[in-house]
Amino acid sequence: MFNLYDKVLIKSKNVEGTIIDIVKNKGDTKITVESNVKGKRSDGYGGVFPIFDCVEEDLKLL
């Protein structure tokens, strides 16, 4: 169970970030994590703090 603004590790990307949005839809939970590391990435949305849509199983609480 994760909460907004928890600090987490995205395991598949080895990226540390902060949870900035949680949306539940049809039993699925989409957790959006903003990278805590400054720097654009092609696999993330946005700019210098890219964001990633994740599933719970791919996150680890820090």
């Binding site: 902060t18 949005d21 949306v23 539940k24 839809n25 903003e34 949305y45 946005g46 700019g47």
Partner: protein
């Protein structure tokens, strides 16, 4: 509700019938006490109070550096509202689950103005965008 909004709430099931879509829900822990409203968008108070202007939070110093204080929730909300211009959308991304993300750059600040990226999410095509993050970006 308009006909288009009603229609948008339907989807085809596996057996070819029409059914109402399951309702998306957003974590309510961030939406408990909305005290300022906008026709254009939604900003849960905690997004500002517990994130953007919360001492120690990752982007708080970027806002404090341009003059906002921890207590400036309403001021920051109003500043974002005055700068929210849908003709300036950038990085629009339509997601497979029907949500849409976009950014708007805006100059924010009290003692000085700096360029911030604000990131928004729409849960449905006709829905109000929600602010999900904001930070300095030149």
């Amino acid at each position: 509700m308009t006909f288009d909004e009603w229609l948008d709430g339907l989807e085809e099931t596996a057996d070819g019938k029409l059914a109402f879509k399951a309702k998306k829900t957003v974590d309510k822990t961030d939406k408990s006490d909305i005290i300022k409203l906008s026709e254009k968008f939604e900003i849960p108070p905690d997004k500002i109070k517990k994130f953007l202007l919360s001492p120690g939070a990752k982007h708080a110093d970027e806002f404090f550096d341009v003059g906002y204080k921890e207590s400036d929730y309403e001021r920051l909300f109003d500043d974002i509202e005055s700068k929210f211009d849908t003709s300036k959308l950038t990085d629009v991304k339509k997601n497979s689950d029907g949500t849409e993300d976009f950014s708007i750059f805006m100059d924010l600040g009290i003692t000085s103005k700096k360029r911030f990226r604000t990131v928004w999410r729409k849960d449905a095509p006709n829905g109000k965008p929600r602010l999900i993050t904001g930070h300095r970006e030149d």
